[in-house]
């Protein structure tokens, strides 16, 4: 095996990467209990080490191939063909980097945020990191499902224990939505594995094997629906997005950063890996439908953001809109669309993570998130206002910042698929500029209505330290996206090759879709 971990990096890098945070959590629980500065440092060191390891893996990563790298494979449950099989391609490698990066940011950002049961909070963050990394690195369906569900638990506790006033409602809603979608997916997993067993005589949960299975149309349709619903809830796509505003508003800052930054991406990642990989025919057939839902999400999310009185809720709804772009780009199924989609996942993780982080910093100072309570904040908090402007501009797609690259590529891709969809998506961009700038204007500029705010302290060194890396990445991707896109070329070709045989069906459906819109 060419891309075995042994040849490529010499040690079980992926396993180490996944379980390093969990090991750190156990060490903190056993040895550092009762000493806040010690276990906080422990959490930071663990997350930094994990991030460093992921960067080290990047140096050994080959960008010229779509093959899965750093593979590890050994038998877990022999009689059922379940293996502990890990590996990453360019897409999952980017997601892994995003996860390890944002985990560091979230841990530094919540250094003084949590007052109650701090140890549990940092342990939850680290266990969450393990779960997320496992999702992105699994090459076995069973293993994937295990990680997919396990990461729910730390997030459930993060929202439920350390969240805001309606945290219990939000935590339970978050859990039940995702869980309900996943269990249906579990039956679909069992059904496709059974079908493959019947037709080939071997029982396997290996993702690559199942991707080559060539499921018949009826299985593809039901399988696609079951997988797609589970992932659409996670993204979240309209109309199953209703858990998101609650979860985001009630979650502590670090929870929101991770939720928006990584967890939502797991949904799209699942679509790329499984909907496209297992059910290419059904996926192509569903393109107009998904495109329609994406465009609705873009415009609906933006329109709702426009009228939010609460900053955090505004950012939350803007996520619905931005993730609409991501799904639209993916389902355009062309080079620009798919690459833009994956890149925009990274961009959204960076920018929305940063926006949530900043809202958290403001909230720690003022204890309010209502936009009307703010105004003129640029005077007492000039540094914060500067950072905030950078992230707001990035989020609305200003050229030179990363949001622009992703949205531009996506629009290019969507335009090739259906002009009408691109037109409607552009309306979302205009609305996005409107609600973000309007919010910025009402909070940072205008008269300083509340004189109390004059005494507020500007960002301290730690807070600046959390924002600088985010800003640096935002600028870097904005100015020089090539290294990131290079990682995506080969996997994108692979995705397009998977759907290629069915593209003809998509063509005919475009007309159907455009006639649906009234003959544009």
């Amino acid at each position: 095996m060419e891309f075995d971990f042994a040849q490529q990096i010499g040690f079980r890098a992926l396993s180490l990467l996944i379980f390093l945070p969990a090991i750190g959590a156990v060490v903190m629980l056993l040895f550092l209990r009762g000493r806040p500065s010690a276990y906080k440092t422990g959490a930071l060191v663990t997350s930094l080490a994990t991030f460093a390891l992921s960067l080290y893996m990047l140096t050994a990563f080959k960008t010229d191939t779509a093959a899965y790298q750093f593979q590890e494979n050994f038998v877990w449950v022999q009689s059922f063909g379940i293996n502990y099989h890990l590996g990453v391609d360019g897409i999952s490698m980017l997601m892994v980097l995003l996860t390890t990066f944002l985990s560091v940011i979230a841990i530094i950002g919540s250094w003084n945020y949590v007052k109650d049961r701090e140890l549990g909070f940092f342990i939850s963050l680290l266990l969450l990191e393990t779960g997320m990394l496992g999702v992105f690195a699994s090459m076995d369906l069973f293993l994937f499902y295990v990680f997919w569900e396990i990461q729910l638990i730390p997030m459930y506790f993060i929202i439920g224990i350390w969240g805001g006033a309606r945290r219990i409602y939000a935590a339970v809603k978050f859990f039940l939505y995702t869980f309900a979608g996943s269990v249906i997916m579990l039956v679909a997993i069992l059904a496709i594995v059974w079908w493959y067993n019947k037709s080939s005589g071997t029982m396997t949960f290996d993702i690559l094997t199942l991707q080559k299975a060539g499921f018949p149309s009826s299985i593809q349709m039901w399988g696609f629906i079951a997988f797609f619903v589970a992932f659409a809830i996670k993204v979240p796509m309209f109309p199953v997005h209703t858990w998101l505003p609650d979860a985001h508003v009630e979650a502590p800052t670090a929870g929101s950063v991770i939720l928006a930054g990584v967890l939502l991406k797991m949904g799209v990642y699942g679509m790329i890996r499984f909907c496209v990989g297992f059910f290419p025919e059904a996926t192509i057939k569903a393109v107009p439908f998904v495109m329609l839902l994406s465009v609705i999400a873009i415009i609906y999310g933006a329109a709702v953001s426009l009228v939010q009185p609460d900053m955090k809720k505004l950012v939350a709804y803007s996520s619905v809109s931005h993730m609409g772009f991501v799904t639209a780009g993916l389902f355009a199924f062309n080079q620009q669309g798919v690459e833009g989609s994956v890149l925009q996942m990274v961009n959204h993780g960076i920018l929305t993570g940063a926006l949530f982080q900043m809202v958290g910093f403001f909230y720690e100072r003022t204890h309010t998130r209502e936009i009307k309570d703010y105004g003129g904040m640029a005077r007492p908090l000039p540094v914060a206002a500067a950072f905030f402007s950078l992230f707001v501009l990035g989020s609305l797609g200003l050229p030179g910042l990363n949001g622009f690259i992703g949205e531009f590529l996506i629009l290019l891709g969507v335009f090739q698929y259906a002009k009408v969809a691109a037109v409607f998506a552009s309306i979302g961009i205009i609305l996005g500029a409107a609600y973000l700038l309007w919010m910025y204007q009402r909070t940072m500029f205008q008269e300083l209505t509340n004189k109390k705010w004059l005494e507020l302290k500007d960002l301290n060194v730690r807070e600046i330290f959390t924002l600088v890396p985010l800003a640096a990445v935002a600028l870097f991707i904005g100015l020089y996206p090539k290294p990131f896109l290079n990682m995506l070329h080969a996997p994108t070709q692979n995705i397009l090759a998977q759907v290629e045989p069915y593209m003809a069906q998509k063509q005919s459906l475009i007309h159907l879709a455009s006639s649906f819109f009234g003959g544009f």
Partner: protein, 486 residues
């Protein structure tokens, strides 16, 4: 009778002798019951070890009335484990009620003897004797706190409905005998196969099904369950929720695949219908319970619903062992996670027997009062929900897999939808423990005692081990099922 006959029932003999020893020793013991506890534990472990030691070959005795094969051994070990865990969690609980008497352990051992017999019997008479031995011991155990009005209520309800159910079962058994002139499973099965489907066979099947349906509390025969579970002493409830239920299922499995094998497709449909009703009733009523014991009672009904779906798949698949194996694995997983959940409740009751009343609000803020109890309870709740990494997920995974393979995907979809519903009431316990603050002041009494700690440790260990390394548990279930007919 030969010596080898006795070897076949050695696990049962050990338990019965130990129970008698406990009863003889009891008058000589003062307050300290350590000796009797030790006898009970030793006997349970010895019976499990003896069963394992006698494995490898199929022993059949008393004119083929009782066998000791991998199937019987699987259940003998499982029941011994359930009994031992119950013994471990009991002492301080009974002390709190000042009813710590050796009879409790003797009754428990007799119940386990009955359960072992049910799994090992290959004859309708032997099955019925086992059933009654288990049932009568259970009635007494339910009413063990005889100065508590709820315990009395539980015993009476259990006695009346249980006797009723036994009588119905017996009537079905007598019909079978009348139709075939035999009581041996194999002979009856062949005779029924030859006679074809007649009204008499249908009636007999229905009666046996209704009678045993009572025992496993399948809806609509579940009405007694919540009251009995709520009123019985909590360690006894823990035992009821796993032991008699698994025993009745072990017998149902054997009887239906041997005695009623001719009508497999008919009873498959009946079990599927029962499964749908049971899942619905169990999950919906569990949603509205404020008392955790009642909630767990309904949750146990829900789990029986999943198991019945497995039985439906078993009947639908003429060949193929998967559903039977999956049911056995599910029972093992369910035993440990449910016993664990009850063990936490018993522990909390012994901590503050005055205030703690098993209501959800009593759990509020538990994570602050005793974090380890809260963490363990969460583990068991997650396992009951079926979250990966726990035994509950493995049980559901194999069970639903077997249902899908019986081409009953729609049934699997309904079952997982219900397990999504169940997440709500299991998570609510966690919500109270971790997300809410205490509503009343609790005075924690003293630390955990050794035996309770052991019970909790063993349950959680089993839940995690089966959850992460399911291969060995699966192999055991597989061997047990394959050798069912041997």
């Amino acid at each position: 009778m030969k010596t080898s006959d006795l070897l076949t029932i050695l696990p049962e003999i050990i338990l019965a002798l130990a129970a008698c020893a406990i009863l003889l020793l009891e008058p000589f013991l003062k307050k300290d019951k350590t000796a009797n506890i030790a006898i009970a534990l030793t006997a349970l472990i010895a019976s499990g070890v003896a069963a394992l030691g006698l494995g490898g070959e199929t022993r059949s005795s008393f004119s083929n009335m009782v066998v000791l094969n991998d199937y019987a051994i699987f259940f003998a070990v499982l029941f011994a484990a359930a009994g031992a865990l119950t013994v471990l969690m009991t002492p301080r609980y009974l002390e709190a009620y000042e009813r710590h008497m050796g009879e409790f352990y003797a009754l428990l051992l007799f119940a386990v003897v009955g359960m072992d017999l049910m799994a090992a019997s290959r004859d309708l008479i032997a099955f019925y004797v086992g059933l009654e031995l288990m049932a009568v011991s259970s009635y007494l155990l339910a009413g063990f706190l005889r100065y508590q009005i709820k315990s009395n209520e539980a015993a009476l309800k259990y006695l009346v409905t249980g006797t009723f159910a036994s009588a119905i079962t017996l009537y079905g058994v007598s019909l079978v005998y009348g139709l075939t002139g035999a009581t041996n499973y194999q002979q009856v099965g062949q005779a029924l196969m030859a006679s074809g489907n007649t009204t008499g066979v249908g009636l007999a099947t229905a009666l046996v099904l209704v009678g045993t349906g009572f025992k496993i509390s399948a809806a609509p025969f579940h009405m007694w369950t919540p009251d009995v579970y709520e009123g019985a002493p909590t360690p006894v409830t823990a035992f009821f929720s796993v032991g008699p239920k698994a025993a009745a299922l072990s017998a149902i499995l054997v009887i239906f695949v041997t005695v009623f094998q001719a009508s497999a497709h008919t009873w498959s449909v009946i079990f599927i219908a029962l499964s749908l009703v049971t899942m619905l009733v169990g999950n919906l009523f569990a949603l509205v319970q404020k008392n955790i014991k009642r909630m767990l009672a309904y949750s146990s009904i829900a789990h029986v619903g999943y198991l019945l779906a497995g039985l439906g798949a078993l009947g639908a698949l003429d060949q193929g062992f998967l559903p039977g194996q999956a049911i056995l694995l599910y029972l093992a997983a369910y035993t440990f996670m449910n016993l664990g959940a009850f063990a936490v409740l018993v522990y909390l009751k012994t901590q503050d027997s005055v205030h703690f009343d098993y209501s959800l609000s009593d759990m509020a803020g538990l994570a602050r009062r005793s974090p380890w109890a809260a963490i363990l309870m969460s583990l068991f709740m997650f396992s009951l929900t079926g979250i990966p990494g726990t035994a509950g997920f493995i049980g559901k995974f194999y069970l639903f897999n077997s249902i899908v393979r019986a081409d009953l995907t729609w049934l699997a979809v309904i079952a997982v939808v219900f397990s999504a519903v169940s997440a709500f009431y299991y998570l609510r316990v966690i919500v109270y423990m971790f997300f809410r603050e205490p509503e009343v002041e609790f005075q924690p009494r003293e630390g955990i005692n050794g035996s309770m700690a052991a019970a909790l440790a063993l349950c959680s260990l089993a839940v995690v081990v089966i959850g992460l390394v399911p291969a060995s548990a699966w192999t055991a279930a597989q061997n047990a099922w394959v050798n069912l007919f041997g």
